[in-house]
Symmetry: C2
Subunit: 162 residues, 2 copies
Amino acid sequence: MHTTLNKVPQVISSQELLEHWQGHRALTRRTIEAFPEEAFFNHTIGGMRTFAEMVMELLGIAGPGIKEIATGNTAPLNEHLEHGNKKEVLLELWDKATEEINTFWPQIKEEQFQKKIKIFGQYEGTVISSIFYFIDNEIHHRGQGYVYLRSLGIEPPAFYER
Amino acid sequence: MHTTLNKVPQVISSQELLEHWQGHRALTRRTIEAFPEEAFFNHTIGGMRTFAEMVMELLGIAGPGIKEIATGNTAPLNEHLEHGNKKEVLLELWDKATEEINTFWPQIKEEQFQKKIKIFGQYEGTVISSIFYFIDNEIHHRGQGYVYLRSLGIEPPAFYER
């Protein structure tokens, strides 16, 4: 019976989805690294947020979001982090989030992905729709970071490398 | 037996992934609509492509990519389309691609998503990694389109609305 169950094809497994996201997160880390420190905290186009502010949003979502899904303990979204205008501080928080995601992700059961939740006590969806939002929102803002880099005359990291 | 198989939890089903992507594609369509025609074909930042050129890449990938996965018939990637500098022409092609994806997607069997392929006769991966590339690449370039719009003083469509 278990053999049969294991043979049922998955469009994507939980482990593959984790690796897919961590591949994206590694690319976002390289995008942060590509920014000169001053531009990371100050450069904007068209009244948008700086890339540092977008990165803090991503940090507020990723680790805490997966921890909340895994444990069921809700906490409000926090997008403001102490960084002292040092990229190094946010890169360290990025690496901590990588570990946090790897720690809590395996605690999410496969049957949980279709469950309804209210992430950060605020946004209704399923576990899978919330996780897709985390990933898609990161890709969206990183794409904007690429334009910031190009406008500074800097070549962004290759999009297809993960 | 079939009842048991149907109860095996999927992280995401094929149908849900289709709806997820078509939600993104509807948002990209609204992003195209938000551009003034002249800026759509001419506005750039930092030596990047125009949003029209990015959209043609997306059109070259989406419909043909899903058709290739469903049928197994390979064709080279074509990112150059006749448009006569009319947004309307590319919006019509966008809608045709929407139909093409909806037509061919159900022909992709669930056990096929983990299969190795060489999409457009060129890019090696699995069916699911290729489809994620199609979706992620669209989100990436649409995010860049958002910066173009903001730099023109135009508010892009809400990212969270699909």
